[in-house]
């Protein structure tokens, strides 16, 4: 024990602000699995060639053919046109899927363990499943 007394100074926050911080941390914790979840963008990402453009390309082939020059079939070069909600375009998703499938399974499992499962459960490495006793507990990720 000191002979004289001890004088200390502490920074303080308003209670409403502290509540807001706690809510923010809780919300961030809830969102961490969501932000760690890869949500594919299915459907077209690049607009398909329009009928007019296809007609123009056919005209190019007709011109080449008329002059004995080689022609080209664009349908065998471009991917299958996808129709979603009346919008026609090409999707990069098949290539993304293939790229992901080329990642080793263990790495994929590790990456995906931070996010949500297909059934909406948080992954095994999500903050909710970290073995730490927290003063503030998140809501658990439910709706």
């Amino acid at each position: 024990m000191a002979k004289g007394g001890t004088q200390s100074t502490q920074a303080t926050l308003p209670s409403w602000f502290e509540t807001g911080l706690q809510q923010g941390v809780g919300m961030g914790t809830d969102m961490a699995p969501l932000m760690s979840t890869y949500i594919p963008e299915s459907g077209p990402t690049v607009a398909a060639l329009s009928p007019q453009e296809l007609a123009s390309m056919q005209s190019t082939n007709m011109a080449a053919q008329s002059f004995g020059m080689p022609t080209a079939d664009t349908s065998s070069y471009l991917p299958q046109v996808q129709n979603m909600g009346g919008i026609q375009g090409y999707s990069a998703q098949p290539m993304i899927d293939q790229m992901i499938s080329n990642v080793p399974q263990a790495q994929r499992d590790y990456i995906e363990s931070f996010g949500l499962t297909d059934t909406g459960e948080v992954g095994s490495r999500a903050p909710q499943n970290q073995p730490v006793e927290l003063e503030m507990q998140p809501s658990g990720g439910g709706k």
């Binding site: 932000m35 607009a47 123009s56």
Partner: protein, 262 residues
């Protein structure tokens, strides 16, 4: 051919251009090797009048001559008879004078006969020669006309050939221009199609981008909420305060006791 196209348009403009170009090339190549017809000098053999003379000999000339000779002979006989009668009347028939006179008469008729026959033959020859010369002249004129006409025909044919070659070259050039025109039509239409098609595709791409943006806003909506909360908290100025506390020590307690009992 597309529906509603011009029924006269049997092929696409590029096929037309290609066909026209081939035709123009072939026509121009043919024009480059065109050889005009050669004009050959025409000649003719001048007609020989003598070969025609036989045709103009009087076939009755010999009969005329013979008849003339007969007539002269008859006249001579008559003269001799009269002379004989006169001599007999003068009792001089058979005399020397009668013989001389008779001989002179015969000589005179002989000369007359020779002259007459000669004139007849000369006349016949001259007539035949004149006719033969006329025929030869007519034949020469005809040959000359024919030769001239032949030359003229060759020249006209040569000119016609040249004109035809030039016309074909002009047609080939026009065909090439028309082919170029058709090609231009095709290109213009094609470029218009490409331009309009690109515009349509851009609209489609904008729709896709809008859709992707909407989807990303959907999946990022919670994060947006968190950002809003963080912005709210960090936007509040000077929220921190200070609190002071004092923990008394032994000296403070002793001083407090002294004060109480002092």
């Amino acid at each position: 051919m597309g529906a509603g196209a011009n029924p006269q348009m049997t092929s696409n403009p590029y096929a037309q251009a290609s066909g026209a170009q081939q035709g123009a090339l072939a026509g121009t190549a043919a024009g480059m090797t065109y050889q005009p017809s050669q004009v050959q000098a025409t000649s003719y053999q001048a007609a020989d009048p003598t070969q025609f003379m036989a045709n103009y000999q009087n076939p009755y000339e010999s009969q005329v001559v013979q008849q003339t000779l007969a007539d002269i002979g008859q006249a001579q006989d008559i003269a001799l008879n009269q002379m004989g009668a006169q001599a007999e009347a003068a009792n001089a028939f058979g005399g020397s004078r009668h013989g001389v006179a008779e001989a002179q008469t015969r000589v005179g008729y002989g000369k007359q006969a020779a002259n007459t026959v000669g004139q007849l033959r000369q006349q016949g020859f001259n007539t035949a020669l004149g006719a033969a010369q006329n025929q030869a002249a007519a034949q020469n004129a005809a040959s000359q006309f024919g030769a001239q006409a032949g030359m003229t025909a060759q020249q006209l044919n040569q000119m016609a050939g040249l004109q035809g070659a030039q016309q074909r070259l002009g047609a080939a050039s026009q065909l090439g221009n028309l082919g170029r025109q058709s090609f231009g039509y095709g290109q213009q239409i094609q470029q218009q199609q490409a331009q309009e098609g690109a515009m349509q595709r851009q609209i489609q791409q904008q729709l896709i981008d809008q859709a992707r943006g909407g989807f990303q806003r959907y999946t990022g909506a919670p994060q947006q909420g968190l950002q809003t909360l963080i912005s709210t908290l960090t936007g509040v100025p000077n929220v921190t305060g200070q609190s002071q506390s004092f923990q008394p020590g032994l000296f403070n307690y002793l001083q407090l006791g002294a004060n109480m009992f002092g």
